[in-house]
């Protein structure tokens, strides 16, 4: 029984996170007849999905008739440098078109082709024009459509509520412990199945496109509950974040700028992508473009404020404003740059984690009973590097699958109980920062962590830096145990950060440990001391992180799943 001291809610399926994956999962779980609760840290509709810009990748072949699931599958696998879970890549490519059309039936309005179908645009690493989009605000369209659908269907949403612990009954996950941000009061959720859709980890770096929410909560909750994390070294640095002025550093500049014909130049006016990827140029994969810009800057050919110039001003001004409206406003209002007449300054920004909770392809089941994951929090689909547009489709395809599987599992499982000890321990842990009269502010530790990850576990990595980075993390962990917070439990961001910080430290350590171990360069993981792919060894294994009994991180390797012949043939075919 849950502890009667605390507000308690009970659902068949509890979904943590209300971005695209969480909402799509909740809609599907409801369809299966489950009662569904969705917990989210922010207000409904503000999750990171809302910031997705360029589009959702789905091989509908509305613009390029030759497209289909096979080319999409090939592009995804090649982009991910074959570290992908091939089954996920296959399901994703096959199901994405249906998921996008479903959104349209729920009221989403994508830009149109001349014959009235959904328009698709070019994007990095995609062989065909594949991204369904709404100007450069595709994520907003998607989250609004899903949220309206979910609310209409009857999901219960617990807004501004943060989960700090998964609750277990023996080896089963059976609920979660959380606090209301508004009041600071604790709340217990009892559930038969829990789906983690909490997104990424980017707030552990200084230059990031991610919001305050992206602190690795889901990955840490799963880790603490005994689940595996996979391939955490693969962190995507998006090639184009804003670099100037300082306050906006890291804010995303959509890849759609390049999809619509934007050109990258260095300070000498050279179109430097000719050097790095003459075939695909600006529409190379993100790992390549990010490293190219970084290299130009490092070798002294950067733009005024340490980036590259990205220019779309050769296109008609009206076209730019129509297809990239929020970029136009973003630069005009925040950087005093009119992108219809001059170039933007851009540079890499921490954007996405390909690694995450290890899940089964068909169901999103994690390696602990009763626990599921989907979206950025889950690993597998993207392998070593994610293609732009594959994230929004990921949320839809695997959000739905995880929601369905969780509901079906919940349907067939009996009652559970949660010990008071677990709940009391979770509550005590949360209250500790208030009890330490003097101590550092969590903001200080967070700043140091971000700086360390930025400098030592960033785009280009080497053994020595990462060892230093890990030593730093161990020190930060000690400091984090001693932080104190001022004020009351009512809407207290310092207190919230004190908790989020412990999650960031777990995922930062997982990234650094895995990255140091992988002695090769693959996709987004680039090492200056091991510059080549090592297909013989590292091309055949994943890094797996699990929790030791004492709470420390355990790193091991596991062979890739053998790909079936028919998919090998699909990969071998070329257009």
């Amino acid at each position: 029984m849950a502890n009667e001291k605390y507000e308690t809610h009970e659902h068949d399926v509890l979904i943590i996170g209300a971005g695209g994956a969480g909402l799509r999962a909740s809609i599907e779980a409801l369809n299966q007849g489950a009662s569904v609760g969705v917990v989210c840290k922010s207000l409904l509709g503000k999750a990171h999905t809302v910031m997705a810009e360029g589009g959702v990748a789905a091989a509908m072949a509305n613009v390029d008739a030759a497209d289909g699931w096979k080319p999409h599958f090939r592009d995804t696998m090649r982009g991910g440098k074959f570290m992908n879970n091939w089954r996920m890549a296959q399901l994703h490519a096959q199901e994405a078109p249906e998921r996008v059309l479903e959104l349209e039936k729920w009221g989403a309005l994508f830009d149109r082709t001349p014959d009235g179908r959904i328009l698709q645009r070019a994007f990095g690493g995609h062989t065909y024009k594949r991204l369904a989009h709404v100007g450069d605000r595709t994520g907003l369209e998607m989250i609004r459509t899903l949220q309206d659908r979910g609310v209409q269907q009857g999901i219960d949403v617990y807004m501004e509520c943060t989960v700090t612990k998964l609750l277990k009954d023996g080896d089963r996950v059976v609920g979660a412990f959380a606090y209301w941000r508004e009041t600071g009061r604790f709340v217990v959720f009892k559930a038969k199945a829990v789906v983690i859709c909490t997104g990424g980890i980017g707030k552990a770096w200084r230059v990031t496109s991610n919001s305050w929410e992206y602190t690795g909560d889901g990955q840490s909750l799963a880790f603490e509950a005994g689940a595996e994390l996979k391939d955490m070294e693969f962190v995507q640095f998006h090639p184009t974040g804003m670099v100037w002025p300082p306050g906006v550093q890291g804010i995303l500049v959509t890849e759609a700028v390049r999809g619509e014909g934007g050109i990258l130049r260095n300070k000498n006016g050279e179109r430097f992508m000719e050097k790095y990827d003459p075939k695909r140029m600006e529409l190379s994969t993100r790992d390549v473009v990010a490293r190219s810009i970084y290299t130009e800057v490092r070798e002294g050919r950067g733009s005024e404020h340490g980036g590259a110039y990205l220019d779309i001003s050769h296109k008609p001004a009206d076209y730019v404003k129509k297809k990239l409206p929020s970029m136009y406003h973003q630069f005009k209002e925040l950087a005093d740059v009119d992108i219809t007449t001059g170039p933007m300054e851009v540079g890499p920004t921490c954007h996405y984690v390909m690694g995450g909770i290890n899940v089964e392809a068909e169901t999103g089941a994690a390696t602990v009973k009763g626990l599921y994951a989907a979206g950025e929090a889950a690993a597998g689909l993207h392998g070593g590097n994610r293609l732009g547009g594959n994230s929004l489709s990921d949320l839809l395809v695997f959000g739905r699958r995880a929601g369905m599987a969780a509901a079906q599992y919940a349907n067939g499982i009996g009652a559970s109980s949660v010990s008071n000890d677990q709940i009391e321990a979770a509550a005590r842990e949360m209250l500790e920062p208030f009890e330490r009269a003097s101590g550092e502010s969590p903001y200080d530790v967070h700043r140091d962590l971000q700086e360390s990850m930025q400098n030592l576990v960033g785009i280009f990595r080497n053994q020595e830096d990462m060892t230093k980075g890990l030593e730093n993390i161990y020190q930060f962990k000690e400091r984090a145990k001693k932080v104190s917070v001022d004020g009351s439990r009512m809407f207290n961001p310092g207190w919230h950060l004190a908790r989020d910080l412990t999650n960031m430290l777990i995922v930062a350590e997982a990234v650094a440990l895995s990255a140091r171990e992988r002695k090769e360069s693959r996709g987004a993981h680039a090492r200056v001391d091991f510059e080549k792919l090592d297909d013989a060894m590292w091309g055949k294994q994943h890094n797996i992180i699990t929790r030791n009994a004492d709470g420390s991180l355990n790193l091991s390797q596991r062979p890739l799943m053998e790909m079936p012949e028919e998919l090998k043939q699909v990969l071998a075919e070329d257009e």
Partner: protein, 246 residues
């Protein structure tokens, strides 16, 4: 480096007052950056909502020097720095703490709106020209600045009788969707009280997405309500035939 003073409201439903904070001003800095600086260095418990920091999520609405703004796009260099910059929470909504208000009212109103309802045999073809105007409404990021400045809500607290500009925009997006089949005029007339709006355009002025709320959403909806309920010719036809009833 230049310095600015932020005069930030600190308090909750039991009251509070303004507290001054000194903040170093960096190039291109926005008010939200300044608030984050205060959190990081002076007042870690200062409550403020934010997410994207790029005017895409609509979380960081506040009143800066008396003007309703997204704080992530309010530049410090657009404000007179020789006097304190006053930062207040949105006035229309009940305060929770500091700059955070209780906006749950908006989620309750939203639930009343019947969803997009296509006919069963819809052919999913639409022309861009036909959806341009709906896409304008769908740009809304739900910052609720329009709700905050609307005098029907702000000054007259008609929160139970009036939907407010945000939800007229949402309904316009549904009503003008080329493939939607449901009428929401009765809801507009009765439950959401669109008649209270006297088109002063305050909402349009503050919209950070430049949605022409009054001209493109509210006025056409008012016309639909008038057509359906107050057009004498239609009234006669309805009386005689019993058809066309809403």
């Amino acid at each position: 480096m230049a310095e600015a003073t932020l005069r930030v409201y600190r308090g909750d439903k039991d009251g509070g007052g303004h507290v001054d904070y000194k903040v170093p001003v960096a190039p291109g800095m926005v008010v939200l950056d300044a608030l984050h600086y205060i959190q990081g260095h002076q007042a870690p418990d200062l409550a403020v909502r934010w997410n994207c920091k790029a005017a895409k999520c609509g979380s960081c609405s506040g009143e800066v020097n008396g003007r309703p703004k997204l704080m992530c796009k309010t530049r410090m260099d657009d404000l007179p720095l020789d006097q304190p910059i006053t930062v207040n929470p949105l006035k229309t909504f009940p305060i929770i703490k500091d700059l955070v208000t209780d906006v749950s009212l908006n989620y309750r109103i939203n639930k009343k709106i019947p969803p997009f309802t296509p006919s069963e045999n819809t052919e999913w073809r639409m022309q861009q020209d036909d959806i341009d105007r709906v896409q304008e409404f769908r740009k809304c990021i739900e910052c609720f600045l329009c709700q905050n400045v609307c005098h029907v809500l702000r000054d007259h607290q008609k929160t139970e009788e009036f939907g407010g500009p945000r939800f007229f925009v949402r309904i316009a997006g549904l009503e003008m969707h080329p493939l939607d089949t449901v009428s929401r005029t009765e809801l507009l007339k009765d439950e959401l009280g669109i008649g209270f709006c006297n088109i002063t355009k305050c909402c349009t002025e503050v919209c950070p997405e430049d949605i022409h709320i009054t001209d493109n959403a509210i006025i056409p909806l008012k016309e639909r309500v008038v057509d359906d309920y107050y057009d004498p010719v239609r009234w006669v036809i309805r009386k005689l035939t019993g058809r066309g009833k809403k």
